[in-house]
């Protein structure tokens, strides 16, 4: 289907790239349906999580292992039940990026990833049990204080 995007006008997305967030995202509780699409810059492909009922909100997201190879998310039993999975490997994880003026300080929220269940088409943002994970992990600036936990 075709969706209207915040940054790229009309974009064609596959039906299986559309996920329903029954609870929205934290701070965006009314945003219930999102599409995931790819856009390449200089041979690097970037993923977007775009609301499809409105052009806002829209997020740049990453597969966490791409930027944090040792990522070992721990979900609560309750979150696993809501996601209808018995194994964490059944879920696709995405982390939301924040891009400040200084690009080296790009951060990803490894504490509260978005988890997608491709079998049900449902998704939600979960807050992990990992006590050391931060909402502002700095993958390109390991000296940064916000990048604790690794």
């Amino acid at each position: 289907m075709e969706i209207n995007t915040r940054d790229f006008g009309i974009v064609e997305v596959q039906d299986d790239a559309i996920y329903e967030f029954d609870d929205g995202l934290y701070g965006f509780e009314d945003a219930k349906r999102f599409a995931i699409f790819e856009k390449s810059f200089d041979d690097v492909s970037f993923l977007y999580l775009q609301c499809i009922d409105n052009i806002y909100p829209c997020f740049l997201v990453f597969e966490p292992w791409e930027l944090y190879p040792d990522y070992q998310p721990v979900l609560t039993k309750e979150d696993m039940e809501i996601c209808r999975v018995s194994d964490i490997d059944e879920l696709i994880f995405l982390v939301i990026a924040n891009v400040p003026d200084s690009i080296r300080d790009l951060s990803i929220n490894i504490k509260s990833p978005v988890v997608l269940n491709p079998k049900t088409g449902k998704a939600r943002q979960v807050i992990l049990q990992n006590p050391d994970y931060t909402v502002r992990y700095l993958p390109f600036n390991q000296d940064g204080k916000a990048g604790s936990g690794c």
Partner: protein, 83 residues
């Protein structure tokens, strides 16, 4: 920061109308009970952090920034697992 030690079953009281009781103590977490007026908002800290992070992350990103990010990603050694 004020630091107070409490055992399970003991409480502290804040400003006469908020009472926080340690209900139980496990190996890696404690369970708290909170009695407070209805208009007092009580949330886990990471929830507020997540809402703030989501809000600041929903801003538009310039195309020139993507080129910079692409460069950083290419430079970073990718040893992560992929699915």
């Amino acid at each position: 920061m004020l630091v107070i030690s409490r055992k399970a079953g003991e409480s502290i009281v804040i400003s006469d109308n908020i009472k926080i009781t340690v209900l139980s103590q496990g190996s890696d977490k404690i369970t708290l009970g909170i009695d407070a007026p209805k208009d007092i908002r009580i949330v886990r800290e990471e929830l507020i952090e997540t809402i703030e992070a989501n809000k600041t992350s929903s801003e538009r990103i310039d195309e020139s920034d993507f080129k910079s990010i692409a460069r950083l990603i290419k430079n970073k050694k990718n040893t992560g697992k992929k699915y």
